[in-house]
């Protein structure tokens, strides 16, 4: 097996991983950086983010407002000191991207423009038409080319972390084109592998979003925090789950039921007005909107389509010119995939799984409890999203915490001695035996696709928008069964070159671990908060017993052990989470009580 010696290895070449790599390179150009990604970086799922990235911009806006929106939106399950740091850094990081060439949309006088987004009091979403993630990713990728100390390992698939003497000291990868394994030694490891939405059936995520880094850290004893909080995005394409950005509503789109009625006004989000009002109606937060869809479906007020019930996202009143300018990708998606011209007909939409709020437990410096291990982006739980992420906070998170992770990983790398190479290689060889054994073994009978389909279906059945103990228990049992059946998995492909079936099997094993963390964390949270809503006697938020983070600990060949950690409250005491007119009333009362 070949060994490559780096100082910092970063796993994941999306927004967070690229930002981290650049941060390391700028912190100290002598540090050797290995950037490992199972796809070429510009294929990473950051590319699919559409609507925009949050950062205070207008003179009428304040960091405090962004803080309050984020903490309220997260139903107070946020680390408030981390949120405070986050909102203070967003504008600078987005400006940094501007300096690196990101084609932000502009106002007529040449400043960066901002748009409205769900759950945000003031317009603060920086955007590049409706391809913001695409442009941010390509800007970061192209900028990273400038730094000679970043050595990319494109299309290298990470199969394990190397932990020795109680600290993380490298990773083992498969070069996809050859099937060869490599040990990459490093004194710091940054995980930036993104979310895990593909464990659900209908989702907005790309095929690569399989929770790899979460599973790796988890298996090495790092808890996964708040995994029960999985975001359903309210406006997705039926069948495929492809995303129609929240910016459709930020620009003034309506959501209507089969009677053409803007039903959100029946769910505490009104009043319905003809033009968008921040934090009301279609600009409410995603959890509330997806929940409202569920109730409309129960009431029989949705429209039945070939891929289940839908409501209509109506953009017609915005006119073709504005749609082409502000939402060009949405326009084309609707036309090409659905045969709908959004200037002349409403788009059928339904909720689909979009985002993993929880992830690898890290502190505000992106450091995991395992020394030498850092994480940033969707794979991590740094504590800003709580029980429900606000749209446009995740792209900013990639930049703010990608940078933090890079700087902290660089500092750590400089502070510790290199490991014992012979010892590390021995560990890596054991990893090689295990993963090569998976492809070489014969006699298995379980098809990967069957296990994957059953996993995705049971996650949807038990951990959907509304949850019941009985169905969550069934999901937990099913996942236990699938993990057993995985031991009998069959890989037809025995070749070395581009054996994607082998990689799919490894990914499936990652997914099963992450799915278990989600399902057991959900079953154990006996309250309703943010994206975790129950209908079995735990309909209310319970701050006395559950204003705390869940932590799922890996147990080999068993169910995860769930325990809880404290939530950092600094200046926002948990209160009523309300939107629309009720939200404005609640805000007035809060302000009055502070005087």
């Amino acid at each position: 097996m070949e060994t490559y010696k780096a100082d910092v290895v970063i796993v994941g070449g999306g927004g967070a991983g690229l930002r981290a790599a650049i941060a390391v390179a700028e912190f100290d150009p002598t540090l050797r950086i290995a950037l490992v990604s199972k796809v070429y970086p510009m294929r990473s799922h950051t590319v699919a983010a559409e609507g925009g990235s949050a950062g205070v911009k207008l003179p009428t806006d304040k960091f405090d407002y962004h803080f309050n929106d984020t903490v309220t939106g997260g139903d107070w399950l946020c680390e408030q000191d981390v949120v405070e740091y986050f909102v203070s850094q967003c504008p600078e990081e987005l400006t940094q991207l501007e300096h690196w060439g990101c084609p932000w949309s502009r106002t007529p006088d040449g400043h960066v423009n901002v748009r409205a987004f769900g759950g945000m009091k003031i317009e603060r979403t920086w955007f590049a038409a409706d391809k913001t993630g695409f442009h941010m990713l390509h800007t970061l990728f192209q900028t990273s080319i400038k730094y000679p100390s970043i050595k990319r390992f494109d299309e290298h698939f990470c199969v394990d972390l190397v932990v020795a003497d109680g600290r993380t000291q490298g990773v083992v990868t498969i070069e996809i084109a050859s099937g060869e394994l490599t040990l990459i030694e490093a004194r710091s490891v940054v995980i930036a592998t993104g979310g895990a939405g593909r464990v659900f059936r209908e989702n907005t995520n790309g095929g690569v979003v399989t929770g790899d880094g979460m599973a790796l850290a988890y298996r090495h004893g790092v808890p996964l925090r708040d995994m029960e909080f999985v975001q359903y995005h309210p406006t997705c394409m039926p069948g495929t789950g492809l995303l129609f950005t929240e910016a459709c509503r930020g620009e003034g789109g309506f959501l209507v039921n089969k009677d053409g009625y803007r039903y959100l006004q029946d769910y505490g989000l009104g009043p319905a007005e003809p033009t968008p009002r921040n934090k009301a109606m279609e600009l409410g937060p995603r959890d509330r909107l997806s929940q409202a869809f569920w109730y409309e479906q129960q009431k029989g007020r949705t429209i039945e389509g070939p891929h289940g019930s839908v409501v209509h996202l109506d953009l017609r009143h915005l006119g073709e010119a504005k749609l082409r300018e502000r939402l060009p990708q949405i326009y084309e998606l609707a036309e090409q995939f659905l045969g709908v011209d959004p200037a002349h007909a409403p788009i059928p939409v339904r909720p689909a799984v979009h985002y993993t709020m929880g992830g690898i437990l890290v502190d505000g410096k992106c450091a995991a409890p395992l020394p030498g291990l850092f994480a940033a982006g969707e794979c991590s739980s740094v504590g800003i999203h709580g029980a429900n992420r606000l749209g446009s906070n995740s792209l900013s998170e990639l930049c703010v915490f990608g940078k933090v992770a890079g700087v902290e990983a660089a500092r750590h790398a400089k502070s510790v001695a290199p490991g014992n190479s012979a010892n590390l290689l021995k560990q890596a060889q054991a990893v090689e035996q295990r993963v090569v054994g998976l492809v070489r073994k014969s006699g298995g009978s379980e098809r990967i696709a069957t296990l994957r389909r059953e996993m995705a279906q049971t996650m949807e059945d038990g951990c959907g928008i509304y949850r019941l103990a009985e169905s969550m228990q069934k999901t937990c049992d099913k996942l236990d069964e699938l993990k057993l059946r995985f031991k009998n998995v069959h890989i037809e492909d025995k070749s070395s070159v581009w054996n994607t079936e082998w990689l799919l099997a490894i990914e499936l094993e990652y997914q099963l671990d992450v799915a278990q963390a989600m399902a057991y964390s959900a079953l154990n949270r006996r309250e309703s908060r943010g994206a975790h809503q129950r209908l079995d006697g735990y309909e209310a938020r319970d701050d006395i017993n559950f204003l705390k983070h869940s932590q799922a600990h890996y147990v080999a060949d068993g169910a995860p052990r769930i325990d809880y950690g404290p939530v950092k409250i600094t200046k926002s005491q948990p209160g009523t989470r309300a939107y629309g007119a009720a939200g404005e009333q609640a805000e007035r009362e809060r302000n009055a009580s502070h005087v």
Partner: protein, 251 residues
């Protein structure tokens, strides 16, 4: 849920370097519905018929650029090309033209990546600015000059369409030229002169024979042919100006 009612034949060009001397076609019968993409058809094959079929894909929505392939001889993103448009005839899928095949539908794209890396695809500021000074001002009109060229998803369909690249794999080609142009015309950038050196070089834009097929197959309306030809003009202008102006033509 809709029923699979129709069956379409998908002919896939298979190649495994460990066992095959040359690529050869294999036909699969795939049940499909009218909303299924060619990618979904190929995924069906992998999931249910032959787990050894290799191909790249990810986003499913024509933005990650992974799933380009020849479909009935034309370069397309398979995620936004639909089986219904070929039915009842057989649909033929092959790796992208003009690239070495690594396996099945997977091509080797290292050469393309090297080209991207070679053109300094990042802002080299005309006037450096600190973060405290805030953003550069850039009007919507100035943004419009390069925005289209920044929309390239690196899917390489234009290379599969380019006859010149087919003849000479060293040719810088459409997408890399579009990206070069994107930075050259960005008001924040000051490195046009350095980049133009590459365009003048052996493998630069003059190799383009103006067929324009690259722009036709581009799924994102980047119009690389336009970038190539603007650079030919620039390059020619630059070539003459360098004799009469001390700074050369790049200004």
């Amino acid at each position: 849920m809709s029923e699979h009612s129709k069956i379409i034949e998908i002919e896939v060009l298979r190649y495994n370097p460990e066992t095959d001397k040359v690529p050869s076609p294999q036909v699969f019968e795939v049940p499909f519905t009218d909303d299924m993409s060619v990618l979904q058809g190929i995924q069906y094959i992998k999931d249910h018929l032959d787990g050894s079929l290799s191909f790249r894909w990810s986003c499913r929505m024509a933005i990650c650029g992974s799933c380009g392939m020849m479909i009935n001889g034309v370069p397309h993103l398979s995620c936004e090309t639909f089986l219904r448009d070929y039915y009842p005839a057989r649909v033929r899928v092959e790796a992208l033209n003009h690239f070495p095949i690594e396996r099945d539908l997977v091509i080797n794209m290292e050469g393309f990546i090297k080209k991207l890396e070679s053109i300094q695809p990042y802002i080299i500021p005309k006037e450096p600015r600190t973060l405290a000074q805030g953003e550069y001002l850039q009007t919507p009109e100035e943004l419009n000059r390069y925005e289209q060229f920044s929309s390239c998803i690196n899917c390489m369909l234009c290379y599969a369409a380019c006859p010149q690249f087919g003849l000479n794999p060293e040719f810088i080609g459409p997408a890399a030229t579009a990206l070069l142009h994107r930075y050259n015309v960005d008001t924040r950038d000051g490195a046009k002169e350095e980049r133009m050196e590459l365009v003048h070089s052996e493998e630069g834009v003059f190799h383009c024979t103006a067929v324009g097929y690259c722009s036709e197959v581009c799924p994102k309306h980047v119009d690389p042919a336009n970038a190539v030809n603007q650079n030919k003009t620039n390059s020619a202008m630059d070539y003459f100006l360098r004799f009469i102006s001390p700074k050369g033509g790049a200004k």
